[in-house]
C-alpha cells in the first residue's frame, strides 16, 4: 500500500492510499469502519433521458464519495466492497443515492474518519511498510487429504482442498491402493501448478506425516520430467519438506513452528503469532495464575497494570459497535503505556482463528494474580 496523502490532525482528517497487492485489501478492510467516508473512482450505470423521452443507459467512470454502511470482504478473491450513500453530488449521481464501491488495485482511494485512533494509524503504518516478508506456499497433506495454502504476512488463504478416498492396501489388491495414491498426487500437483505463482512465492512447504511428502515430491519431479514441465523443474529448490502430524489445516501451525522453516521464511507474522500463542499456552500450563483470557479477566489484569503481553485479534476492532471498539483501543493503549507488548493477531491466520475461539483476547501477566482465578468467568455463560 502506498500512502499518497495524509492530513490528520488531532485525530480527525483523511488519508489517501493506493492498494498495490491483494493483501492491501485486507488492510483496507481492517481500516475502514462503518460511518467513514470513502472517495474513490468507480463505474456507475447512468440513465439519461433525452428530450424526446427515450432513455439510454450508459456506464460512466466517475469519482464518488460515500459514507460506508456495509463492508464486504471476499477472502478468496481479495475484493473489498463498500456500500453506502453518496454524499458529494455530481452530474451523474444525486445526493443520497446508494452506490457500491469496489476498491481496485492500483487506484487510489481516500478515507476520512471522524476519529482516527491509534489502532487505525498503526494499521496504515503496517500496511505501508515496504519491507516485505516472503510469500510462502504450503501444502499440508496426508494420504487422501491435502490443503494447498498461501501464507502472506497477514493472511493464510486456503487455495485448494483435495479430499479423496484411497483404498487401503489389502491382500492382492495393492495396485488399487497405489493407483489411488498416484491419482491423489496428481491432483495435488495440479493444484500447486494452478495456485502457486512461482514468481512471487519464495518457498513451498510440503508437510505431511510419514513418508507422504517424500513420495509426493518424487512423484512430482518424475511427472515434471515426463511432461517436461520447466516451471516445476526450475523451482525445485524452492520446495521444502517438513514434518506435520496430519493433513488438516491446523497442522500448519506445527509447520510454522519448525525451526528449519522459521529460519527460511524469517519472521512472517504468521510464524510469530504462532509462537506468541504457544507461549501463552506454555505459561498457562506452568503458571496458570499468570495467563488469562476473556475480556473480563484481561481488563481486570490491566487495571492492575499486570499485563506483560497482550494478544488480541483484529476482529475485535472490526466490530460495528463504536463503543466496544473504543474500549478495546483504550485497553491496547493502556497496555502500551504500562510498558506491555501488544500483539495484534490477524484473524485470517490459523493462530488468529484459535485466539478468536479463545474469546479473541488473552494476556500473559508479569506477576500471578490468583485472585482472578477465583472469579467466575461470566462471559463463558453468555455465549
Amino acid at each position: 500500500m502506498k500512502l499518497v496523502h495524509r492530513d490528520i490532525d488531532k485525530g480527525q482528517g483523511a488519508v489517501t492510499l493506493v492498494p498495490e497487492e491483494p493483501e492491501d485489501m485486507w488492510h483496507a478492510y481492517n481500516l475502514i469502519a462503518e460511518g467513514d467516508s470513502v472517495k474513490s473512482s468507480t463505474i456507475r450505470k447512468v440513465q439519461i433521458e433525452s428530450a424526446t423521452g427515450s432513455s439510454t443507459s450508459s456506464r460512466v467512470r466517475t469519482t464518488l464519495t460515500i459514507t460506508v454502511e456495509t463492508i464486504d470482504f471476499d477472502t478468496q478473491a481479495c475484493m473489498l466492497r463498500l456500500k453506502g450513500r453518496n454524499i458529494e453530488e455530481n452530474q451523474h449521481v444525486k445526493m443520497g443515492a446508494y452506490h457500491t464501491l469496489d476498491l481496485e488495485l492500483n487506484r487510489k482511494f481516500s478515507l476520512r474518519k471522524v476519529e482516527w485512533d491509534s489502532i487505525a494509524l498503526e494499521r496504515i503504518e503496517q500496511a505501508c511498510d515496504p519491507t516485505k516478508s516472503a510469500d510462502v506456499a504450503a501444502v499440508i497433506m496426508q494420504e487422501g487429504l491435502a490443503h494447498v495454502c498461501l501464507i502472506t504476512s497477514s493472511m493464510t488463504l486456503i487455495r485448494a482442498k483435495i479430499d479423496v478416498t484411497i483404498p487401503r492396501k489389502r491382500k492382492g489388491l495393492v495396485q488399487q491402493h497405489e493407483k489411488g495414491l498416484a491419482k491423489f498426487y496428481e491432483q495435488v500437483m495440479q493444484a500447486i501448478l494452478r495456485h502457486v505463482n512461482f514468481d512471487v512465492v519464495k518457498c513451498v512447504l510440503v508437510a505431511s506425516p510419514g513418508f507422504v511428502r517424500d513420495q509426493f515430491f518424487d512423484y512430482m519431479l518424475q511427472a515434471a520430467v515426463k511432461t517436461d514441465n520447466k516451471l516445476l523443474l526450475d523451482n525445485k529448490t524452492k520446495f521444502m519438506l517438513v514434518h506435520a502430524s496430519s493433513g488438516f489445516k491446523h497442522s500448519l501451525k506445527e509447520v510454522l513452528q519448525d525451526a528449519a522453516v522459521m529460519s527460511k521464511i524469517c519472521d512472517t507474522k504468521a510464524a510469530s503469532e504462532v509462537k506468541a500463542l504457544q507461549q501463552f499456552y506454555a505459561v498457562l500450563q506452568a503458571e496458570p495464575a499468570k495467563a488469562f483470557y476473556g475480556k473480563g479477566h484481561v481488563q481486570r489484569a490491566n487495571e492492575a497494570q499486570a499485563i506483560e503481553s497482550l494478544l488480541i485479534s483484529d476482529r475485535l476492532f472490526r466490530c460495528d459497535d463504536v463503543k466496544q471498539r473504543k474500549e478495546y483501543v483504550a485497553l491496547v493503549d493502556a497496555v502500551r503505556e504500562a510498558g506491555g507488548e501488544v500483539r495484534m493477531f490477524s484473524s485470517m491466520h490459523l493462530s488468529g482463528e484459535q485466539l478468536e475461539q479463545l474469546t479473541g483476547i488473552a494476556a500473559i501477566l508479569r506477576f500471578p494474580m490468583p485472585e482472578l482465578e477465583e472469579e467466575e468467568e461470566d462471559e463463558a455463560e453468555q455465549e
Partner: protein
C-alpha cells in the same frame, strides 16, 4: 449377439471347444471362482437376464428313476436352497425329497408347494404351473448365449424370472420379497454353475452340500430380523469357533509384524513357496530380518522402509478360536491408521522389545507403548496379552523379563486394565521361540513354564456381540470390487445384516442395498455384530461414501450432528486444553478436524462429581465435560446407547491428548 446366432443348429462341441471367445464372457467367470462362493458372486449374465424376463423355464425332460450321483448332488443342493429360502417351515426330509423329485428339482415349484400347503398336499394349480413350465418355449429367439451350455449339461434346470403365485401373499411381505429375490439370485447363478464343459458343471453343485442335510428334520430360520436376531446368531455361529479380532500394538520396531509373520508361518498359513520368495527378496535388499514382516507388510513402500504403515490383516485358527489379526503400525505418524485398526478389535496383543534400551525408549514418555496401550483401552479393548519379544537378545534373562513385567503391570493397572485380563508371554519372534510350541532353549526352560503365545491367544474370551441392536457398520475402506457396484469394508458394530437389506449411509443419508457380504474372502448370507465384513453396495456412487461413514438400518438411523458433549479424560498434555483448542477427532475410522468449543465442567476423577464449572483450562490427567464442534456433521451415538460408536479420541500434533465418551448429542440446529 445371442439372438443372432442359430442356436438350434449349433454344433455345440465345435462351438465350445474354444468357449473363451464368447463375447463378454470372461475366463474368470469360469475359473477363478471358488465353488462355494459362486452363488454370491455377481454374475455378469444375471444382468443380461433381466432383459428376458418373460423367458420360460427350460426343463430337462428325460427323467431317470434311479438317482445318479449328479442327481443326488443336485438333490442336496436343492434341499439346501429350499431350506434357506423358506422361513421356519418344518418339513421332514423324506417329504422334501419326494417333493423335489416330483418337481424335477425345480426349486420354485417345490417352494410353492410347501408354502401353499403345510401338509404338503399337492395343489391343482401347482401342477398346472408345473405343466406350463414343462412345455418348452416354442420361440427360441430370446434365449441368451448360455443356453447352449445348459443343454449340454444333462441334469440341471434353469429358472429365470418368475412370478410367485398370489397365494404367497399370506407370508409377511418382507419374507416374501426376500424369498423371491433369493430364488432369483440363486437360480440365476445356475448358468455359471454349468460352466462350459459338463464335467466341471457338476462339481459346484455337489460342493454345495452341507452337513445339515443329513439331519432328519430340516429347520433353518430365515432370519426374521428383529425378533430372533439372537437365535439366528446362535444358530449360525453357535457351533463354530468363536471369531476374535486381535489388534497387535507396540512401539515402532518392537517386532510386531515379524512376530505375527512368524506365527502365521509356523501355523502354516503362509505357504513355503511364498516364504522362500520373501526370504530371497528380502535378502536381496539387505533386510533379511524383515522376511517375516513381509507376510503382513505388502505395499512396496512398507517393505522398502521396513516399517508397517497401514493395518495388515491376516487370520488363523487356534484350538478354540478363529483369530483375525490386525497388525497395527507402530510408528508415531501412523497412529491414525492404528486407531482405525484398534477400533475394530476385540482384544489386544501388546508387543514390547526386551532389548536393553529399546524397551525404555518405547515405554518412556513419547514412546508408543504407552500411547498405544492407552488408546486401545479407550477404544474398548479390555483384554491384553503382553508379548515380551526379542528376549533372545538378552539371553532369555529372567531378571529382564521380570523387570519389564513389573513396569508394565503397574502402568497397565493405571491405564485401567484389570490385572486378570493381562497376561505376559516371553518369546522371540525372529527365532520363533515359544510361539506355537513350548520353548526349546534351556535358558528359558529354566524359569518359564507358562503358556506359549498361541495358547495365550486361545485363552482370550470373546466379548458379547450386540446383535439385537439396530444395524451399524463403520466404513474403514472403500474400493472397487469385481463386477458392478463397489465394496465397503469395515466392522459391524451392532446388529446384523442380510444380503438384500437396505442400508442408509450416514451422515449423507443416502440409501443403498447390500448385494453381497464377504467375511475373510468367503461369501456369507448374513453377518453379525463384531464381524469384519466387506459389503458390496449397489445403487450408489462410490464418491458418495467416505471412510468413517456409518451404514445403518434404514428404520433406525444413527443420529447425525456436528456438535456434542463428551466426558473426556485428558492424558498427559504438554499444554493445557482451553476452549477454542483445535484437535483432530477420531471416531472409529473417521478423522475429522474439531474444536473444543466449551469447557462445561471439570469433574472429580474418582467420584465424577463436578469440581468446577466453566474451568478456564484443563490440565493433564483431569476429567471434564466439554462441548466439541466438528467441522462437518458426523454420525455418532451416545455412549450409553452404543459403546462402540460413543467413543472419541482427541489428538493434537501427533499425540493423543484425550479420550472421550459422548454424553449428549446437540442437534445441528
Amino acid at each position: 449377439m445371442a439372438r443372432h446366432r442359430d442356436i438350434r443348429n449349433l454344433d455345440y462341441e465345435d462351438e465350445y471347444d474354444g468357449y473363451d471367445d464368447v463375447y463378454g464372457h470372461s475366463v474368470d467367470d469360469d475359473y477363478y471362482i471358488s465353488p462355494s462362493n459362486r452363488q454370491f458372486i455377481y454374475n455378469r449374465e444375471t444382468s443380461r437376464d433381466s432383459r428376458f424376463e418373460h423367458a420360460d423355464d427350460i426343463q430337462e425332460v428325460d427323467e431317470v428313476d434311479e438317482l445318479t450321483d449328479i442327481q443326488k448332488a443336485k438333490l442336496n443342493s436343492c434341499m439346501h436352497e429350499i431350506k434357506n429360502t423358506l422361513g421356519t417351515v418344518t418339513i421332514s426330509k423324506a417329504n422334501l425329497v419326494g417333493l423335489i423329485l416330483k418337481y424335477q428339482f425345480n426349486i420354485e415349484l417345490v417352494v410353492n408347494a410347501i408354502l401353499e400347503d403345510p401338509q404338503f398336499e399337492t395343489n391343482d394349480e401347482t401342477i398346472k404351473n408345473r405343466g406350463a413350465s414343462l412345455t418348452r418355449p416354442s420361440v427360441v429367439d430370446p434365449v441368451p448365449t448360455f443356453v447352449g451350455k445348459v443343454v449340454t449339461s444333462t441334469t440341471t434346470n434353469v429358472v429365470k424370472g418368475f412370478n410367485l403365485p398370489s397365494r404367497d401373499a399370506k407370508l409377511p411381505p418382507k419374507v416374501l420379497e426376500l424369498t423371491n429375490k433369493d430364488l432369483t439370485h440363486r437360480v440365476n447363478s445356475t448358468p455359471n454353475a454349468q460352466s462350459p464343459s459338463s464335467g466341471r458343471g457338476q462339481s459346484p453343485a455337489s460342493d454345495r452340500v452341507t452337513p445339515e442335510c443329513s439331519e432328519g428334520e430340516e429347520k433353518v430360520g430365515r432370519p426374521d430380523l428383529k425378533v430372533d436376531a439372537e437365535a439366528v446368531y446362535k444358530k449360525e455361529r453357535g457351533l463354530g469357533k468363536e471369531h476374535l479380532y486381535m489388534v497387535v500394538i507396540g512401539h515402532v520396531d518392537a517386532g510386531k509384524s515379524t512376530l505375527m509373520g512368524r506365527l502365521l508361518c509356523e501355523l502354516g498359513q503362509v505357504n513355503k513357496k511364498t516364504m522362500h520368495k520373501y526370504e530371497q527378496e528380502s535378502k536381496k535388499v539387505g533386510k533379511q530380518s524383515f522376511m517375516y514382516a513381509w507376510v503382513l507388510d505388502e505395499a512396496g513402500e512398507e517393505r522398502n522402509r521396513g516399517i508397517t504403515m497401514d493395518v495388515g490383516r491376516h487370520s488363523f485358527e487356534t484350538k478354540n478360536k478363529e483369530i483375525t489379526i490386525l497388525d497395527a503400525p507402530g510408528h508415531k505418524d501412523f497412529i491414525p491408521n492404528m486407531i482405525s485398526g484398534a477400533a475394530q478389535a476385540d482384544v489386544g496383543l501388546l508387543v514390547v522389545d526386551a532389548t536393553k534400551g529399546e524397551f525404555e525408549t518405547g515405554f518412556d514418555l513419547g514412546g508408543q507403548t504407552r500411547e498405544h496401550a492407552l488408546l486401545v483401552k479407550s477404544l474398548g479393548v479390555n483384554q491384553l496379552t503382553v508379548v515380551i519379544n526379542k528376549l533372545d537378545t538378552v539371553s532369555w534373562s529372567k531378571d529382564r523379563f521380570d523387570e519389564i513385567v513389573q513396569k508394565l503391570k503397574s502402568f497397565l493397572r493405571q491405564a485401567g486394565f484389570k490385572e486378570n485380563n493381562v497376561n505376559f508371554v516371553p518369546c522371540s519372534g525372529l527365532t520363533g521361540q515359544n510361539l506355537i510350541q513350548p520353548p526349546t532353549e534351556n535358558e528359558i526352560l529354566e524359569w518359564y513354564d507358562g503358556p506359549c503365545l498361541i495358547e495365550a491367544i486361545d485363552k482370550f474370551t470373546s466379548p458379547a456381540r450386540p446383535v439385537i441392536k439396530p444395524f451399524r457398520f463403520s466404513v474403514n475402506d472403500i474400493f472397487k470390487g469385481t463386477g458392478s457396484g463397489f465394496c465397503v469394508e469395515g466392522r459391524i458394530e451392532t446388529g446384523l445384516i442380510n444380503i438384500g437389506d437396505k442400508v442408509m449411509i450416514c451422515p449423507s443419508k443416502d440409501q443403498s442395498a447390500v448385494k453381497t457380504i464377504m467375511i475373510d474372502d468367503a461369501s456369507k448370507r448374513i453377518a453379525f455384530a463384531g464381524d469384519q465384513a466387506t459389503l458390496t453396495l449397489s445403487g450408489l456412487e462410490i464418491q458418495n461414501v467416505s471412510i468413517g461413514n456409518i451404514l445403518c438400518d434404514v428404520h433406525y438411523p444413527i443420529p447425525v450432528s456436528n456438535k456434542f458433549e463428551a466426558r473426556i479424560l485428558v492424558f498427559s498434555v504438554a499444554i493445557p486444553i482451553t476452549k477454542g483448542y483445535s484437535v483432530i477427532l477420531h471416531h472409529q475410522s473417521l478423522a475429522e478436524q474439531a474444536v473444543i468449543t466449551k469447557l462445561i465442567s471439570q469433574l472429580n476423577k474418582s467420584s465424577g462429581e463436578v469440581e468446577k464449572k466453566h474451568p478456564r483450562y484443563l490440565r493433564k490427567n483431569s476429567n471434564a465435560i466439554v462441548e466439541i464442534t466438528v467441522s462437518k456433521p458426523i454420525a455418532l451415538e451416545l455412549f450409553s446407547e452404543c459403546k462402540e460408536l460413543g467413543r472419541v479420541m482427541l489428538r493434537v500434533a501427533g499425540t493423543t491428548i484425550a479420550a472421550g465418551l459422548i454424553t449428549r448429542i446437540i442437534s445441528a440446529n
